[in-house]
Symmetry: C2
Subunit: 899 residues, 2 copies
């Protein structure tokens, strides 16, 4: 087992591919050395060594000591300096570095090798006594706190006292003598606290530092970071022992961090900060305001040119935007780190597209590089990142589940009607509810954002909001909402109706007051890249849209049809003429309260023109593209009011007694509405509902066809579970449709299919496909039933199931990313069985998963024809569909090369 990898003088034991073993930093240093960039020499102790350390009760491997000493000797030979040398000592930094970047989470020790003897040597060699003692005091302080664990503050307070005594403000004003005095104090303190003198032996110092870096891997900070960032499967941290170079040796020195392109915009400009006469820590600490990199070209044109070359070399070498650290020591450039640079979503697109144009990468690689999060985050407004964090934190009212990212500002209102009336008079509102129901859709629609006290990421509020790309926080369980007083409170904050609040949907925080937001514009590169994705992908991408307006937006966003029109949304809201929403609601409520089939038909007749009109609008928007219309799905109780006052009002409007209305509402109550009288079961028991809806669809189609609009309606029955059930529905559908078509003498072709959203439907897909012409997997409900999870209630325990620190049973929320092992198995089975019966069965998905990248890839792999996603997730779907193809190609290639 080789524990130590050397690099220096253009050669390196390791290389850039060895991130897992050498950590990102170590691999970068090795690679930069190999390709001839100016890198200080040193060696890297592997992550495997760290792993060994923790697996063997914090013992180093037997051979490590000899290996380190051998490499140290090599370093001394190369630099022609010796550790602890009293004349011109070798000084090293000892840095952590794991395979995944964990900024600031682990330890670093600089200037190692200084002691009372070598500090003099350093002073001599640099001809700068002040610098040498400054370095020494830094080292003593760092070593004492990091390696020994003495409180940092005890050193800081001594430094403050010294400066007070000297009557100076800035560290730079302290003289060599001052530092020497402080070092004396530090050492006395050290002796006092530890009972031992400060270690003068640099080898002892080195081993202490190596151990301290390893220890920091298991530090609380680092462990928490890994949990939060879901970083798993790493061996540990590497330790990089590198010759020190100094940026703080005068005005021909300095240090900087830079990005090879602008990480905010992706623009191809050299972007970074530089501090003259400073060490790297000073840039990070933000004590002095750095200068822009451009300034360097004026101050040190030679160095700048060299850096420009490095930039080009590294970009060409890594074929991606790099994040660099460098130091200039007396006019000599040293590269200290290179790694793939983090970037904003917008920059990610820009860089990917530019690099294709530049010939640096292929289109395929550009597609692979974009993460679905990038697409999603592109569209959401965010809290201005310049906002003061401490102030923000003091304003926090409560935290919930970050259901839909982005941010929103508005005045708190507590009912959907209030939301609508406030919005009607031009107010921006945030709708705050215990939970939302379809009744609230109007209010949700006009709100800037939605906050609920219950529910999970796929509760009603979350799903509806996500469809609109609207900021939404759910499951803020600690929130007390008082509907009577119209207040909410938590955490000592109370918010009354009309007071401003701000939601940060990216992390689930709710703040009091109005906080500035920024809404990003998707760059052109976004559209370019998605067009490339379209050329690669095989999966069709449709949208879920319930209104002509949604349909138009979605078409612009690249939808190739509608995969799901939820007809019930039309019953609540007239999206084109909001003032008419009341009529629709009343008609559906009359229908539900009807005692007889005739009364029901009369009420349905009132709904017919509304639905037909909506369908005409949707068909027009989708001219030439397929439109899948799902018939009425939710349980009827969702359409009627539950509080006595509203029931009385409704009773008055439709001429019934309040008792009769209350009784009917009570009758509609279900213990488990999710498993109740809903979906196609409504049309089985009330065929007149089916009849009206089919009539609306077909009459709209005829009207459009007459106006030369090409209509491809796909009529979809929800929640079927049996062939005979499907037969009854299919026959009823065709009877009504064919009669209308025959009368109108206009050619309208339609298909009849079903959602597959119950395990039984998937299991018996072969039988159901004898009747159904298409399947659309409703994986929201399929997940609920397969896993026995109510998405409205899962907030109580599902977070624990997903949280790795707790039960950690699932790796992700099964309502966000399809549970491939369980639900996915049923989907695969359903597809296979369905196509066995009907080889040309058209198969799609219309659940939330249709807009989730991992799930879209799954849909590709199992052979679906299309996915359907809400308009704002179409980009995610289009990209993921392309990535699925690329992943498949990779696998095929790997397979071929194995054979």
């Amino acid at each position: 087992m080789k524990y130590v990898y050397f690099f220096g003088a253009g050669k390196a034991d390791g290389d850039g591919e060895m991130k897992d073993l050498l950590g990102g930093k170590g691999a970068g240093l090795a690679e930069m050395t190999r390709i001839g960039l100016p890198v200080p020499s040193g060696f890297t102790i592997t992550t495997e060594t760290c792993d060994f350390y923790f697996k063997h009760n914090r013992q180093f491997p037997k051979d490590l000591r000899a290996e380190v000493e051998k490499n140290l000797k090599r370093l001394e030979n190369l630099t022609k300096k010796k550790l602890g040398d009293a004349k011109d000592p070798l000084l090293v930094s000892v840095r952590s570095g794991s395979a995944r970047s964990m900024p600031g989470m682990m330890e670093t020790i600089l200037n190692l090798g200084l002691n009372d003897a070598s500090v003099a040597g350093l002073a001599r060699a640099t001809r700068n006594e002040r610098f040498a003692f400054d370095a020494y005091r830094r080292f003593v302080q760092m070593y004492s706190s990091v390696v020994i664990g003495l409180p940092k503050d005890d050193f800081e307070s001594r430094l403050r006292a010294l400066k007070k005594r000297l009557g100076v403000k800035d560290d730079t004003e302290v003289s060599a003598e001052g530092w020497r005095e402080l070092i004396g104090e530090y050492k006395r303190y050290f002796q006092e606290k530890t009972g031992k003198p400060f270690p003068e032996n640099p080898h002892e110092q080195l081993w202490g530092a190596i151990g301290a870096v390893f220890e920091s891997w298991m530090g609380e900070k680092a462990q928490t970071y890994r949990r939060v960032e879901k970083i798993t499967g790493l061996l540990g941290t590497a330790v990089n022992v590198v010759q020190m170079v100094y940026g703080n040796t005068g005005d021909d020195s300095g240090t900087g961090v830079c990005f090879t392109r602008d990480p905010s915009t992706g623009e191809k400009t050299f972007f970074g900060d530089f501090l003259l006469n400073a060490q790297g820590e000073d840039v990070v600490a933000g004590i002095r305001t750095p200068m822009h990199l451009g300034e360097l070209s004026k101050r040190m044109p030679k160095v700048y040119k060299q850096l420009e070359r490095v930039r080009r070399t590294l970009e060409r070498h890594y074929r991606d935007m790099q994040d660099l650290e460098f130091t200039v020591e007396h006019g000599t450039l040293y590269m200290l780190q290179t790694r793939t640079g983090k970037r904003t979503p917008s920059a990610a697109f820009q860089i990917a597209v530019d690099m294709v144009d530049e010939g640096l990468i292929e289109v395929e690689e550009a597609l692979e590089r974009i993460k679905s999060d990038d697409v999603e985050r592109l569209f959401y407004p965010v809290i201005d990142p310049r906002m003061n964090r401490a102030e923000l934190s003091s304003r926090k009212v409560v935290e919930g589940i970050n259901a839909v990212p982005g941010a929103a500002v508005g005045k708190a209102v507590f009912t959907a009607e209030d939301a609508e009336s406030w919005a009607a008079r031009g107010e921006k509102v945030i709708l705050v509810r215990h939970e939302t129901s379809p009744e609230d859709v109007g209010g949700m629609n006009v709100a800037q954002g939605i906050l609920t006290a219950t529910g999970g990421k796929t509760s009603h509020a979350a799903v509806v909001a996500r469809g609109w790309g609207k900021c939404c926080i759910v499951g803020a369980e600690k929130l007390d909402i008082d509907l009577q007083k119209k207040t909410m409170s938590s955490n000592g904050h109370a918010v009354r109706e009309g007071e401003w609040i701000t939601l940060d949907g990216s992390d689930g925080s709710v703040y009091g007051g109005q906080i500035d937001l920024i809404r990003p514009e998707p760059p052109k590169a976004f559209y370019t890249l998605l067009k490339w994705a379209d050329k690669v992908r095989k999966l069709g991408v449709r949208t879920n849209a319930d209104t002509p307006q949604d349909a138009r937006v979605a078409r612009e966003m690249g939808a190739e049809g509608i995969g799901l029109v939820r007809t019930e949304h039309m019953f609540f809201k007239d999206f084109e003429h909001p003032e008419k929403s009341g009529e629709r609601q009343l008609a559906i409520q009359e229908m539900i309260l009807a005692d007889t089939s005739d009364a029901r038909k009369a009420a349905l007749a009132k709904l017919l023109p509304f639905q037909r009109g909506d369908f005409v609008g949707i068909f027009k928007a989708m001219d030439g593209l397929p439109v899948t219309i799902r018939l009425l799905d939710p349980p009827l109780h969702e359409f009627v009011p539950h509080d006595p006052a509203k029931q009385a009002e409704l009773a008055r409007k439709i001429g019934l007694s309040p008792e009769a209305v209350a009784r009917r509402v009570e009758q509609l109550h279900e213990a488990n509405p999710m498993l109740g009288h809903r979906g196609c079961r409504l049309c089985i028991t009330y065929p007149e509902i089916l009849e009206m809806q089919i009539r609306a669809i077909i009459e709209a189609a005829i009207e459009c066809q007459k106006n030369k609009i090409k209509v491809i309606p796909e009529i979809m029955h929800p929640l079927t579970m049996d062939k005979k059930e499907m037969q009854i529905l299919d026959q009823a559908t065709r009877r009504v449709a064919d009669e209308i078509i025959a009368k109108a003498k206009v050619k309208v072709e339609y298909t009849v299919g079903t959602m597959i959203e119950l395990p039984r439907a998937a299991l018996l897909a072969d039988q159901i496909a004898e009747v159904a012409e298409f399947f659309s997997f409703g994986t929201n409900d399929l997940t609920q039933t397969t896993m026995g999870l109510s998405r409205d209630d899962a907030g109580r325990f599902l977070p624990e199931y997903v949280d790795e620190r707790k039960a950690g049973i699932f790796t992700s929320d099964p309502f966000q990313t399809i549970d491939e092992a369980g639900v996915g198995l049923l989907v695969e089975w359903g597809i296979e069985r369905g196509r066995k019966t009907r080889p040309n069965l058209k198969i799609g998905i219309c659940g939330e998963h249709g807009g989730d990248a991992e799930s879209v890839k799954f849909c590709h792999r199992v052979g679906m024809d299309y996915v359907s996603a809400s308009p704002f997730r179409l980009g995610v779907a289009r990209l993921a569909a392309a990535q699925a193809v690329l992943e498949e190609r990779q696998k095929d290639k790997a397979k071929k090369s194995r054979n």
Copy 2:
């Protein structure tokens, strides 16, 4: 195609096996003829002819006329009489008869062949003019109404007028002259109504009668009967044309119906009724009181002896109890019908066991003959069948779903507490609720019967009641319950608290008042037969029992262990010390309301001794047999009160504010509790609940082992869906258990397994079986999730799904009989996968299906180790398990004979 089958003079074209073709009556007549019994000659037109008739627009087959005429000629030759003969005419009856008995649902025409000429011949031949004209007027009336469709009443009124004119009361007092006058009137009326004279041609009469019998197959009455009785797959009715014999030709004549054994008790006595000088119709009509069959041995000893021989012959021939019809004409016996006799459940057992003892049938056949309904119905009290139906009907308040058969009488009460307090003072009560919840269990337990306005056959009320064998009617949707006034009303009847009501669980009727019930005793034969079943069956039969008392009863009923202890029932009720139930409830409520893990633990500590005590009792009762204990399963909200008054009371008791209690209850509310925070999810989030329960189980086991009671505990985690979840539960279980066992130094062996009640668990059974040592299929919940059906809500539409007259999508309620196609597929998959991982995996079922005969057979076929049923359904399970083996043997035999 042969349409007509002749029988007569000891020979017959058909035989007893040809029921489908000749109908039950025709096949019986042919068979009796063949085996030499005295049967009047005749012929049968096949059911295929009827099928042809309706499939060809009510046309007879081309060849039918010739075939009928040929057979009629044969009959005339045999009887030496001619149809319509003026001297000694042949008269025939024309009777319906399908493969399944449909008593009174189809038509019959008697005395066919009479006209003005032949009536004189009949008078001459019988030397009884009055008899001849009586027969003639009966024929004219019957023909006119049945074949032509004239209103019966128009004939009856003319008969009444005649008797008034003659000044007589009884038909028997009318002279030949009187009948002749009436015949004249009938014929004039016939001419007037139809414009044609009454048909004198007996061949025309015959064809009219044949057509009328066919038509009656599609009569409304018959169609309704078939729907209600679920009679499907029949071709139609046969038509039996048989020489008339007369029981009303004097005191050496008569007619009777009899059973070869007592159909009520199964006793081996000749049982029946006989009327002297009467026709068959008179017995059925019940106009005169018949004499017991024994009387016949005195009046006509020769005939009686002959009948006794017929009885023995037929029993030996058919190897089953027969239901016979016969007529004696001038001392000559004629057998008119034989068919397998209907019998009470009690008689079914008695006869089956007796026939084995008599060597008539084998044990296997005895087992096959008993239907699961017979077992079930054996135990239920029933409304006294002598009760006047009209009076009953006038008392009906409402109808619901017949969830648990049997009947119950009690005073209506509307809360579980009222039920308990009323019962405590010795009152018999019926508990009437909108729906029941586990809180109501105490009240349900003391009630005679349970009535709910909502829910289906597997709602909480139905399931709990079925477990106790307690009469229960659910889903009486038309019932208005006013909890404030404590009244219920429907159908114009109002019932106040304390008023008597009677439930008939066999048909779902609810009556006002106290109606007499009869509770049958299972005969010894029942126990004999079940012992035989035990020898045959391979499937183990366990019971679901939650209390020591249930366990004892179940063991007496043959349970071989407990397949399901629902620990939550112990939280509501102390079944051994009912007065202590309050303490338990309070402790569980305290646990639920606890804010911190410590408070929760303190409350759980109070529950521990109760649970431990119950387990000790159960282990004792099951000494040496396995006991499967399911940990806490229902959502916590089921344990806390929902109305403010009770919440306030609870708050007072445990020292919290009413608001705090209300808030916690509100927090526990779930949109779909069935898919919510329940099952093992409770122990994942609150490990202390698991710990207390394991402690109670293991400590009880140790206590029992110390007292030489052999304990075989199987610890079962409900609602798992993932291997990792199961691992967490398994490890927690073993950690607690092993620690207690180690400390006690007593050997206790236990196993840890899981319910499989979610589709995902079945799908991933191979993975779960890596941890679980046994599976118990919870097919109640598996049905709910696989089919997306809430059993508490399914009453709204499931009846329509099951009702053949409506959607008819399922052949039976999937909560009663397992849905083999869908849910069954998952069960099979789960078993196969589970055993792949762990070949010796013990597998059972503990849902309601474990007590349903068809489902038990399914469990046998898919290779389960045992079924678990509620105590009162153990008989059903034991028998069905045996029948499953016999069915398998039959199939194997059939397979072998094919090869």
